[in-house]
């Protein structure tokens, strides 16, 4: 049974329950901004028409979980908008609606696909191994299950129990690494295992793999441009491996260099924003090029947590703290401009953080507005 719910969000009608494509129907009609003229782009070239040649059991992947990756809705986030009368809209790309629950499904799929096409990865012979904070690992494990290849992951031991259980349920083998070394330590562990191995591993190295940002250049970026009818004026998102920021930004830059591309980081090396890196104190990913950013901003963990709670209570969107940080940053940006369309990323689902205590923190006077600009 398919139930249809019709929701009214700021004048736009969203049909829920009829399949993902319908969710993207012109959520953007309300406000009219200086347009960039007719816009057309062949966005939905899917990467799911991939067959694993000679796989253990030859299976078609056409209607597999792979086909559910991408084409996520773009949601209006009124809790991040300056308020009635303002000519600024804020949207979040609902990446938590990917089947693996995060933005990392896209790069994982492209990494696997490029690995197979280049001959570096033979799913019958190789074990895919990489370091992860969780989400890329969940995406790899999901693909491994659907495409019948083996996945091993190095992950800091303090990853949440939800994440570790998800990974194991999807069939991945985990190498738990020192919590104090973070994902840098997990990367070192993988390099060690690969150096000692006799060629059984495919180590894509998401931090240094161009397929990571290219997945966003080829899918996330075009989708955002299409879903905003080409009217996006500002893109803002946090940096982890930096794949999302680099890929979407490069795509938007190529379309129109005047679109602002704002990179966000935690304000302190010790933060609670899982998935995001404080670049000054971290191993900087090889795919990162700071020159692509037109601006750099920081967000405090407490502002991010407060916005994560507001997203749940005011928008009905259960997202993780890095998405909360993105929306907090987008809200601040939205208050600083007169006219525009701001887009950010809702990186992963909040159900991955249910055991965290920040959900219960009382709202204090230090609301999102308190962050100094």
């Amino acid at each position: 049974m398919t139930s249809v719910v019709v929701a009214f969000t700021g004048g736009a009608v969203v049909l829920w329950g009829l399949g993902r494509n319908l969710l993207t129907v012109n959520v953007l009609s309300p406000l009219s901004l200086p347009g960039r003229g007719f816009f057309s782009y062949q966005v939905f070239a899917t990467m799911s028409t991939l067959h694993v040649a000679g796989a253990k059991q030859s299976r078609s992947l056409d209607s597999s979980v792979l086909s559910a990756i991408g084409r996520t809705p773009l949601l209006r986030l009124q809790c991040a908008e300056p308020g009635p009368g303002a000519r600024v809209r804020v949207f979040g790309k609902a990446e938590f609606m990917n089947p693996g629950g995060s933005v990392k499904d896209r790069p994982a799929l492209r990494i696997v696909k490029e690995g197979i096409e280049s001959g570096r990865f033979d799913p019958n012979r190789h074990v895919l191994i990489d370091a992860t904070s969780g989400n890329t690992g969940i995406a790899y494990a999901m693909l491994g299950a659907a495409m019948s290849f083996t996945v091993e992951l190095a992950i800091p031991a303090n990853a949440s129990s939800e994440r570790k259980r998800l990974l194991r349920s999807l069939g991945a083998t985990l190498h738990l690494t020192d919590p104090l070394e973070g994902t840098d330590g997990a990367q070192a562990k993988v390099r060690n295992l690969v150096a000692k191995s006799n060629g059984q591993y495919f180590y894509p190295d998401q931090y240094n793999n161009e397929a990571n940002w290219r997945s966003h250049f080829e899918t996330t970026g075009p989708e955002i441009l299409q879903q905003t009818n080409g009217e996006i004026t500002h893109f803002i998102t946090g940096l982890g491996t930096t794949g999302t920021f680099m890929g979407v930004s490069r795509y938007l830059q190529q379309f129109d260099d005047s679109i602002a591309r704002v990179a966000m980081q935690p304000d302190s090396p010790l933060h609670g924003l899982e998935g995001l890196k404080h670049m000054a104190t971290a191993r900087v990913p090889g795919i990162y090029d700071a020159d692509i950013a037109t601006d750099q901003v920081v967000i405090s963990t407490s502002d991010a947590y407060a916005m994560t709670r507001r997203m749940a209570r005011e928008e009905g969107l259960m997202v993780g703290p890095s998405a909360g940080a993105n929306v907090a940053a987008a809200a601040r940006l939205a208050r600083s401009i007169d006219v525009g369309t701001v887009v950010t990323i809702l990186c992963d689902t909040g159900s991955r953080y249910l055991s965290d205590s920040f959900w219960d923190e009382p709202e204090s006077a230090t609301h999102v507005q308190s962050t100094p600009d």
């Binding site: 992860t132 303090n158 919590p179 104090l180 982890g240 491996t241 302190s268 924003l273 998935g275 404080h278």
Partner: protein
């Protein structure tokens, strides 16, 4: 009140904070409680303080401190008493990817 005995405590510093501790991965301090041990740490390395504490002196809620394998949130918080030769870890959240 009788003053408590001061235990010798080893604090493990996560990689992102080591630039504030002259690249040391562990710092030896004294203290009868978690709070006291952290205070002596930030006295020795004042640049650490804003990363661990709010301006009002409260430990930031997302800062994870472990006594051995146990999160102090599930013990007695900052007031958790320390045995001699205790090992505390400041555990960062997991960054990127």
């Amino acid at each position: 009140m009788e003053s408590q005995k001061t235990s010798s405590v080893k604090i493990r510093i996560p990689t992102p904070l080591r630039s504030y501790t002259n690249d040391q991965s562990t710092v030896a301090v004294g203290g009868a409680t978690v709070e006291e041990a952290l205070q002596s740490l930030t006295q020795a390395y004042p640049a650490l303080e804003p990363h661990l504490y709010h301006e009002n002196g409260e430990l930031r809620s997302f800062v994870n401190i472990y006594l051995g394998d146990d999160d102090i949130r599930y013990l007695n918080g900052p007031d958790t008493e320390l045995p001699d030769d205790a090992e505390l870890s400041i555990v960062p959240s997991i960054a990127g990817g």
